[in-house]
């Protein structure tokens, strides 16, 4: 669903151009950019529901690592 929405938004953005086109382009990018991390969140929730706690914890640590890494790079570079 999100994939189709991003695709349609990108296509409309390309066709319309102007301010509306730009907003649609930005929306498509934001949606696509957050999907991979959202997938890890969904995995963490799903694994914890099925009591697969070790892998759920690994997914949470990975998300924290990505967040910490981003903050570190912003602060130090």
């Amino acid at each position: 669903m999100s994939l189709v929405t991003a695709g349609v938004a990108a296509a409309m953005g390309v066709l319309l151009r102007g301010d509306i086109g730009l907003w649609l382009d930005v929306f498509a990018l934001l949606l696509l950019g957050t999907l991979p991390a959202l997938r890890v969140v969904v995995l963490a929730v799903s694994w914890s529901r099925t009591r697969d706690f070790a892998f759920a914890a690994a997914a949470v640590v990975l998300l924290l690592l990505m967040l910490l890494g981003t903050i570190l790079v912003i602060l130090l570079k």
Partner: protein, 276 residues
């Protein structure tokens, strides 16, 4: 060149490179970025578009690949812990190593990885007739799983995980230093060191490089380097390319996927050396 021709060309290049990238789990950026710089773009403008192509290709391919049980998410999360830690260290150290030396090093690694995949004969994991279609997927609490191959079910279990995660961490440092997604290192490591089936290694790597690329894109967006109108063109091409690549992967045998990956790795090495 008119704007329309330029736009169509960007969409076509994104489609082509994402198809190849998601077929072999290499990501398309390492091919797309140099191709874009042949036109009117600088590498600084092309790099964020490469990341957009990796994310879109990864998300598009993920749907088909997950249906076939080809993505092992547990394996991806465990190995990505090492790769992400390494990438952060690599990004912080970037600039400490000469860019030319790094490029030659990456090119050598790509050729080594290509040789590893090309030399190996046969199929490591065989279909198990006793397994039904409902057995496809990952196993609870373990890194093993079953994937679908031509209407047959193939069980597998990765091994040498400690060595593999250590090497993934090193690969993360290298990719962080070089500013690339690293699919061309992650796929051969998963397949040849941790003994994941070629298709599972490619699909799992496609998932993980999407994660890496989304973090890198956020950093570039904060830096004001993403041109949304060009990125939308890449999104369009890569969404189609990712879907086509994953469909191709579904119909090709593991040795063909492995050899195709090897050929693309050699092309990547040549492109790197040419750029250096």
């Amino acid at each position: 060149m008119s704007d329309t021709i330029r736009d169509v060309l960007i969409i076509a290049l994104a489609l082509l490179t994402s198809t190849v990238g998601s077929l072999g789990g290499l990501g398309g950026a390492i091919l797309l970025v140099p191709l874009l710089t042949f036109g009117d773009m600088t590498i600084t403008q092309a790099a964020p578009l490469g990341l957009v192509s990796v994310i879109a290709g990864s998300v598009a391919a993920g749907r088909n690949q997950s249906q076939d049980g080809a993505v092992n998410h547990r394996f991806a999360v465990v190995t990505e812990l090492g790769a992400t830690s390494g990438a952060v260290v690599g990004v912080l150290l970037s600039g400490a190593v000469s860019e030319q030396m790094l490029t030659w090093f990456l090119a050598c690694l790509a050729v080594l990885a290509a040789a590893g995949g090309a030399i190996r004969k046969g199929v490591r994991w065989k279909p198990d007739a006793s397994l039904g279609a409902d057995s496809v997927g990952e196993h609870h609490g373990s890194l093993s799983g079953v994937y679908r191959l031509n209407e047959q079910q193939v069980p597998y279990e990765p091994s040498r995980m400690t060595l593999g995660v250590c090497l993934m961490t090193v690969a993360g440092v290298v990719t962080g230093l070089a500013g690339v997604g690293g699919g061309f290192l992650k796929t051969p490591l998963s397949s040849e060191v941790m003994r994941l089936p070629a298709k599972v290694a490619a699909a799992t790597s496609t998932f993980t490089i999407g994660l890496t690329a989304s973090t890198a894109l956020l950093l570039m967006a904060l830096d004001g380097r993403v041109v949304a109108s060009d990125a939308a063109l890449v999104v369009l091409g890569s969404l189609v390319g990712g879907t086509v690549g994953s469909q191709l992967q579904r119909h090709l045998s593991p040795p063909v996927v492995r050899r195709t990956t090897s050929v693309v790795l050699v092309v990547i090495a040549v492109v790197m050396v040419a750029r250096a």
